[in-house]
């Protein structure tokens, strides 16, 4: 010890006060989620984040327990992606949204994806600090995850977590940072994608116009309290959407400063989008994208080449049995890659 007085109280010798509880299995957790046991959530996340040998089988067991085949239908949650450039106020908005969903007695799981420090591999996860919730409220679950080297995209575990938690929670939110790749990735997983825009910064508008970014399902102009600049941001986005022939995309102005404004309208817009969406089709696409992402994470560009490239792999997945769960699809891709190799 550096300081002569620093006190370590025996734990370092390996003595435990209480024996560690064994981690529950994937199958067990899947069963608990099907019974809508929200207390399973922390262990589910610990499991899907586990990249140790053996972890992958457990995740497969979990996901097959909550597959549409096992559930006889799609998981009932609304999976919402919230993304946007840094500083757009996503966390403050989420804080208001969580409060409003809870006021409707909907249970909410929030998965936030933070950037990772490239140099050290470590990350400072600060988003949950901005989301106010009652710690005794068992129907709110918030988990921060480091992006883990995925450039602007989703943490490897986030897709699996969203899919699993959608079985038990009413709303599952995935929050990511960035414009470009991140909302494309979120769109693979979410039923509804909301892009949050900060008035006065034109990047989202430019990206939309340039076609770098796909048109999101809902556009949120945050910080409506800024007045004129927020009004013009909303107007510019609307006219851009008309030019892009996407008049169905709703533009909602909100303010998270007290008294908050526009939150009810935003929830209504998210709900309306989901009602209009062919959910089973979108979820099917999500599972296929998930399988391909898992495959690519495991086998890289080389693996994709042995499938004949990303496009070819997508085409093949498009023809696969719609009832298959993600691990089965991933395995099928691997078998196919082996055949062709």
């Amino acid at each position: 010890m550096a300081g002569a007085r620093a006190a370590l109280f025996g734990h370092v010798t390996g003595r435990r006060v209480t024996p560690a509880r064994p981690a529950p299995s994937g199958a067990e957790l899947g069963a608990r989620l099907r019974e809508r046991d929200l207390t399973a959530a922390p262990a589910v996340l610990n499991l899907v984040e586990n990249r140790a040998p053996g972890g992958r089988e457990e995740v497969a067991a979990l996901l097959s327990e909550v597959s549409p085949a096992a559930l006889e239908g799609e998981p009932s949650a609304h999976i919402v992606g919230v993304t946007g450039p840094p500083g757009a106020g996503k966390s403050s908005l989420l804080s208001e949204l969580v409060g409003a969903w809870r006021a409707q007695d909907r249970s909410v799981a929030v998965l936030t994806v933070d950037p990772t420090s490239k140099r050290s591999g470590g990350a400072l996860l600060g988003d949950r600090a901005r989301i106010a919730f009652d710690p005794s409220d068992r129907k709110v679950f918030i988990r921060s995850t480091a992006a883990g080297g995925q450039l602007g995209g989703l943490a490897p575990a986030t897709r699996a977590a969203a899919q699993a938690l959608a079985t038990a929670f009413d709303v599952v939110v995935i929050e990511t940072v960035g414009v470009g790749q991140s909302e494309t990735d979120v769109a693979d997983v979410a039923d509804t994608v909301a892009v949050v825009v900060q008035p006065g910064s034109g990047d989202v508008l430019q990206f939309l116009k340039a076609g770098i970014m796909e048109v999101p399902d809902v556009l949120v102009v945050n910080k409506a309290d800024l007045g004129q600049v927020a009004v013009s941001a909303e107007r510019d986005l609307r006219s851009a959407l008309r030019a892009l022939d996407a008049p169905d995309t709703e533009v909602i102005s909100v303010s998270c400063l007290p008294p908050p404004r526009g939150i009810e309208e935003l929830i209504a817009a998210l709900d309306t989008h989901r009602e209009r969406t062919d959910l089973s089709e979108r979820r099917l696409q999500a599972r296929r994208a998930h399988a391909l992402a898992d495959f690519a994470a495991e086998h890289g560009e080389r693996g994709l080449r042995s499938l004949g490239g990303r496009r070819e792999a997508e085409r093949w997945l498009g023809a696969a049995d719609p009832g298959l769960d993600v691990p089965t699809l991933t395995r099928a891709l691997e078998e196919r890659a082996m055949e062709d190799a």
Partner: protein, 665 residues
């Protein structure tokens, strides 16, 4: 004074001598004040407890364990009257270290004076009232930045006419230095903060009052042990302040542009090891703020030698008061003109610091001013502090007793049973709560409710001054918690930026690389990255230590969950559970650890979290056994400055807890 006249015709009058004091309850604090005044102290400096500073009554959940700890609890005019009983407020000059709730405590002071038959126009003193540094460093904010700035502007506008001898705001560079600021940052950020306040006031008072407003702004500065540079810093501040008054606010009267400051010298540099050495440090720091007549402090309070150990006792504070008295009355300090005038070294140092500060102020201005630049300044301070910690760790910055000359005889000063510090009787919390309930039961409830309704109405309107409604609520018998809750309902709650997420990634020295390899190894064995929750339970806002731990843990490759200050035990337990962390670190400096740490470990057990808990803070040795019994696995005090060593312990602890084979580092 004409050229060549080095001796003053009449020696200067000594500065105002204060002791920052208050604890337990109003009655005991009043006894302490009277004793201090009898010893030759010439002004009061009131320390409020954390619930009072953050706008909670003693019976609020967040107040548990904090009542009467770092200062006195004041909930209503009855408490204020008891605190000031027998102290003539017409003559007294009182400094109140109060910020978020400054308007309220000033109102209580005005009402207490009224009860003594003293009008508000006669009152003299200072409310600290610098909210920006609360977001940056000290953490006792209550409301979001914009309404907080409005409260300050209202107080300035009110006092300049109604309480003309009051300093409504003491712009603090003190806490910036405690948060790691370099001298340039200390100057630049405090000047920028003052500008933000003045800009806000300018919108609320007629232009012809601005000269008087400018003249009422005083500063509260810090002085470290590098006392030559520290003195230069004060001269640079005087120069810049004059410049800002003249150029930015068109203040014509040079007397209004004079840089007036009070001081508490550095606590950051005081050591727990060989604590008697702190006396020498304090003396040298006192020289920094008194030596040159042209930038001499108006009021001084000195910390006690044992502040790194715990709360000082009256005798410890007397020792510090005597330092001031010897400087002022025994030495020849006050007999001469400015001793640095014409010094090439001093002039060059001042120019260097002033230029650096101007450049840094321009950056803050580019961010849109101090309020908008809080995240920028916070991240810059976290970075500077990290650099300071690194220099001490590496030995580049010598600290006697810490990284040099560590061999020592046992200190007789800390040999008594309580380790040479003041221990607040845990019974005061219950007594204070009972007293509060009695107060609520006996007052005219309808009058209080009417006064609070009126307060809410004024708060909602941006164009009415908050002070008259606040004073009316104080008179009616409302409490600190009720006043603050009324405003929270209108203004909203607030969490300040933590500064850590924007902190730059750490350097690539060998020790860090080695630690990263070990973190990677343990993470691989765990199956996912080692995850560490850094939590600050309770109302203590001194987050610098926790921030440094969080940043270093990130730099060695851990995933770190840090949610900032002011968390309840159940919030910490919920975060630990939901985030699936492998280890939990708690930081407390307010002395509330005997209550809060067991409350957190219990909440963790209830939540089913079995991750080990480590604790850092000002934890007297007498309290170690109880914390160990509460399940704390390791404990760090200010002696443990080697963060890498701590990181090593934490990785080892996680490995041992999870049965991963140890690897010697």
């Amino acid at each position: 004074m004409s050229d060549g006249e080095h001796r003053l015709a009449d020696p200067d009058r000594p500065w105002m001598m204060r002791t920052y004091a208050g604890h337990s309850n109003p009655r005991r604090s009043n006894e302490l004040y009277r004793r201090n005044l009898a010893k030759g102290q010439t002004g009061l400096s009131i320390a409020f407890d954390l619930p009072t500073q953050t706008g909670y009554d003693s019976d609020h959940e967040l107040a548990r364990g904090e009542v009467g700890k770092v200062g006195v609890p004041i909930s209503h005019r009855g408490d204020m009257a008891a605190l000031l009983d027998g102290i003539p407020l017409r003559e007294m000059n009182t400094s109140m270290t109060i910020n978020a709730t400054a308007a309220w405590l000033l109102a209580l002071y005005i009402v207490a004076a009224e009860e003594q038959g003293v009008g508000e126009d006669a009152l003299q003193g200072t409310t600290q009232n610098d909210i920006i540094k609360e977001y940056l460093s000290r953490g006792t904010y209550a409301f979001p930045p914009k309404p907080s700035m409005r409260l300050i502007a209202d107080m300035v506008a009110y006092t300049v006419e109604q309480v003309p001898r009051w300093n409504p705001i003491n712009v603090c560079s003190y806490h910036l230095q405690e948060a790691g600021a370099t001298p340039v940052q200390e100057i630049a950020y405090s000047m920028s903060n003052a500008i933000a306040v003045l800009d806000a006031v300018r919108e609320r008072v007629p232009q012809d009052l601005m000269g008087r407003v400018f003249g009422r702004i005083s500063f509260f500065v810090n002085a470290g042990v590098r006392f030559i540079e520290e003195h230069a810093k004060l001269r640079a501040m005087a120069e810049l302040w004059d410049e800002i008054g003249r150029d930015r606010y068109d203040v014509e009267d040079p007397r209004h542009r004079r840089f007036r400051y009070g001081v508490q010298v550095n606590s950051l540099g005081l050591t727990e090891a060989q604590p008697e050495n702190n006396v020498q440090r304090i003396v040298l720091e006192a020289l920094a703020v008194t030596l040159g007549r042209n930038a001499r402090a108006r009021a001084i309070q000195l910390p006690a030698w044992n502040e790194a150990l715990g709360l000082p006792r009256p005798w410890d504070q007397q020792w510090s008061l005597r330092i001031q008295q010897i400087l002022a009355y025994e030495t020849d300090l006050l007999e001469y003109a400015d001793v640095f005038e014409g010094s090439r070294v001093m002039d060059a140092l001042v120019a260097e610091l002033a230029d650096g500060a101007r450049a840094e102020m321009a950056i803050v201005e580019e961010h849109g001013g101090a309020v908008e630049a809080v995240p920028y300044m916070k991240a810059a301070l976290v970075d500077s502090h990290r650099e300071r910690v690194r220099r001490i760790e590496s030995g580049d910055q010598p600290v006697v007793g810490i990284n040099r000359f560590t061999e020592t005889e046992p200190s007789p000063l800390t040999a008594d049973a309580e380790g040479g510090i003041l221990v607040v009787d845990p019974a005061v919390e219950a007594e204070q709560i009972a007293e509060l309930e009695r107060w609520r039961g006996e007052r005219d409830q309808a009058a209080v409710e009417d006064a609070l309704l009126e307060l809410a109405r004024v708060a909602r309107r941006g164009d009415e001054n908050i002070m008259p409604a606040t004073i009316a609520a104080a008179r009616a018998g409302a409490t600190t918690g009720e006043w603050a809750q009324t405003l929270r309902a209108v203004f909203g709650d607030y969490r300040a930026p933590t500064g850590v997420t924007d902190a730059l990634a750490g350097g690539g020295d060998e020790e860090l690389a080695e630690l990263r390899t070990e973190v990677d190894r343990v993470s691989d064995a765990l199956g996912r990255r080692l995850k560490f929750l850094v939590g600050k339970p309770g109302l203590d806002g001194h987050s610098n230590g926790a921030e440094q731990i969080a940043v270093r843990a990130r730099d060695v490759g851990m995933d770190v969950v840090y949610e900032g200050i002011r968390l309840t035990p159940s919030q910490i337990a919920a975060s630990a559970l939901q985030e699936g962390v492998h280890v939990i670190g708690l930081s407390i400096l307010s002395g509330s650890h005997p209550h809060l740490i067991p409350a957190v470990t219990e909440a963790l057990r209830d939540a089913g979290v079995d991750a080990p808990v480590v604790v850092g803070g000002i934890i007297p040795e007498a309290d170690w056994p109880a914390l160990r019994a509460a399940g704390v696995a390791a404990l760090y005090t200010p002696t443990d400055f080697d963060l890498n060593r701590m990181m090593r312990d934490i990785v080892e602890l996680v490995a041992a807890e999870t049965g991963i084979a140890a690897k010697s580092l």
